[in-house]
């Protein structure tokens, strides 16, 4: 996000400010400076440890009213897409969701977002309201070059939270993703398995390939429904939309509901037995054959290449 913010700020000759809300977050100031933030607004309190829509909204709206930004960006994560509309509606601001491209046109932010799955794109502006707001698929934006020895001005924002006034409380939190294993949102490479994988055990060969490529493992709806992978891995209309640099689809036929969730990937590689599978229509490279033979061979070949 900072990479994109930097690009927009340079064009408009404006500052890049970052906002962090939470507890024990001061440690993030360094990395935000390194990636180009000029100012960092920090709202820190132990009571802010768990994300809470209403409390985070009240803190963020106060920061917005005080500092009056021109553009306000959020990641299109579940938290980002929960918080941004709440803030936008509270302050009566225009907001575009899940943008894949942002440019400045005639001094205004031009936001491009997919509608109807990824079948159609729409260009959107906020004609009258400021800040212009967008949630963005950060993975699709170019990362900023880190610069050491940069130090942003850190501005402490007042926090006044009364835990007793919380109307919603998180009772329990569970990660279904395994620690150390990359999540599909953050990975540059995703290896996905579908119905063609055949069993939970066979997913192991997909995991081995993902290890070699430092990739995340994804799954089609069919594979999740079969219980081979958790819901957090599901890519497609009823799961997560991803757009990594490389997407390898193994044994995925490519239903519309899956394609809309990964069509934005830079390079798509498909391995499937069925030459008629729709996945080949979007793939840059395809191998027609049995993934159970091909995936282990690919793992082996890539491993050797590394050494």
């Amino acid at each position: 996000m900072l990479g994109k913010a930097k690009e927009l700020a340079n064009e408009l000759k404006q500052d890049i400010c970052a906002v962090i809300i939470g507890s024990e977050i001061r440690k993030f100031c360094n990395v935000l400076s390194t990636f180009g933030a000029n100012k960092i607004f920090i709202a820190e309190d132990d009571a802010l440890k768990e994300y809470n829509t209403e409390i985070y909204t009240s803190i963020l709206t106060r920061i917005i009213l005080k500092h009056k930004p021109n553009i306000l960006l959020f990641p299109a994560t579940k938290i980002g897409r929960d918080l941004a509309p709440r803030v936008a509606s509270t302050l009566k601001l225009g907001l575009a969701a899940d943008c894949v491209k942002l440019v400045i046109q005639d001094g205004k932010l031009l936001m491009t977002r997919p509608v109807y799955g990824d079948n159609i794109l729409a260009d959107i502006i906020c004609p009258n309201t400021r800040p212009q707001m967008a949630t963005i698929r950060a993975k699709m934006m170019k990362k900023a070059e880190p610069k050491q020895n940069e130090s942003a001005e850190v501005i402490k924002e007042p926090v006044n939270v009364n835990v007793d006034s919380f109307k919603t409380i998180v009772k329990e939190k569970k990660k279904t993703s395994i620690p150390g294993v990359k999540s599909i949102d953050e990975a540059d490479i995703i290896i996905s398995g579908g119905r063609g994988v055949g069993s939970k055990e066979t997913f192991k060969i997909i995991e081995e390939l993902s290890d070699v490529l430092n990739a995340a493992v994804g799954a089609s709806r069919a594979a999740v429904e079969a219980g081979w992978k958790p819901k957090s891995c599901q890519i497609g209309q009823s799961g997560t939309t991803v757009s990594p640099k490389i997407y390898i689809a193994c044994g995925i036929s490519g239903t519309t509901q899956h394609l809309v969730g990964m069509k934005g990937s830079e390079v798509i590689i498909a391995i499937n037995k069925d030459p008629e599978a729709p996945i080949f229509e979007v793939a840059n490279y395809g191998i027609i054959g049995d993934l159970k033979e091909i995936v282990p061979l690919l793992t082996k070949a890539l491993k050797e290449k590394k050494i």
């Binding site: 079948n119 939190k173 191998i287």
Partner: protein
């Protein structure tokens, strides 16, 4: 208790076309259905409903949207309200939330508002939170199930970026729902479809809601769509049909040549 479920009529297939003459989406003549996210959350609301409770389904749409509300009635909603007026046309998520908030205020008391997390067409996922903000009530989004509802508190399971969380909330609250992968939408039996004909389905227009006209529809919208277009087509790919070992060799050669890896 009174539950209000906000629903939308959406195209059955998201493979819609752009009318090249008007540069707008072709909306006429395509078959439509109840947004699946909305059907899911309606079914969650029905699970909570006790005999004395009332479920009202509301939708902003065209006269044709009545069909979707009839489905909600057949599934078990007690009453439906359709907001249909040219004044509401061209609403963005903010103006839609405003219209819904006016309807809800006109209905009066409520305990829980249910929304689909997103729609399969616009996919902004914004109407729920924007509505909750305008009604000044808390919200829980990405709700997969409502696990407990006792007194003035309910407990829901909601998806997070890493997994899920269990959230306890006071009522009134707005819940935005997303079906778990195991969800299969119910088909209402014929007798319920027939019985739905006798349930009230009211149509309200701008005059019924009142207030300044420029708060609704495109005039009340804060974003403006300036162009819709097809994404650039993906380049025709290369398909390898060889023995596994040769195929993998060829693929790696191609990936090297194109500097993919």
């Amino acid at each position: 208790m009174r539950f209000i479920v906000c629903v939308k009529e959406v195209p059955e297939s998201i493979d819609v076309k752009i009318d090249l003459k008007t540069n707008k989406l072709q909306e006429e003549g395509i078959s439509t259905t109840l947004n699946p996210f909305d059907q899911f959350i309606l079914e969650e609301a029905l699970k909570l409903k006790k005999d004395e409770d009332e479920i009202i389904a509301i939708s902003v749409g065209t006269p044709q949207t009545k069909m979707v509300l009839m489905k909600c009635l057949a599934l078990g909603a007690d009453k439906a309200i359709l907001l249909s007026d040219n004044v509401f046309m061209g609403s963005d998520s903010f103006a839609t939330a405003y219209t819904l908030s006016k309807v809800i205020n006109k209905i009066g008391d409520f305990n829980i508002i249910f929304c689909g997390q997103q729609t399969v067409d616009g996919n902004t996922a914004q109407v729920g939170p924007e509505l909750a903000a305008q009604l000044k009530i808390p919200q829980v989004t990405y709700v997969e199930s409502v696990d407990k509802f006792e007194g003035q508190k309910l407990v829901v399971k909601s998806q997070t970026d890493e997994g899920f969380k269990i959230v306890e909330s006071q009522i009134p609250v707005l819940l935005a729902g997303i079906p778990p992968s195991s969800f299969t939408p119910s088909l209402p039996p014929l007798r319920n479809i027939i019985a739905a004909q006798n349930k009230p389905c009211i149509i309200w227009n701008f005059e019924d809601l009142g207030g300044p006209k420029d708060k609704y529809g495109s005039a009340g919208s804060l974003i403006q769509i300036i162009k819709v277009y097809y994404p650039p087509p993906r380049k025709k790919g290369i398909v390898i049909v060889e023995e596994p070992t040769t195929a993998v060799e060829k693929l790696i050669e191609l990936l090297n040549k194109d500097k993919v890896i």
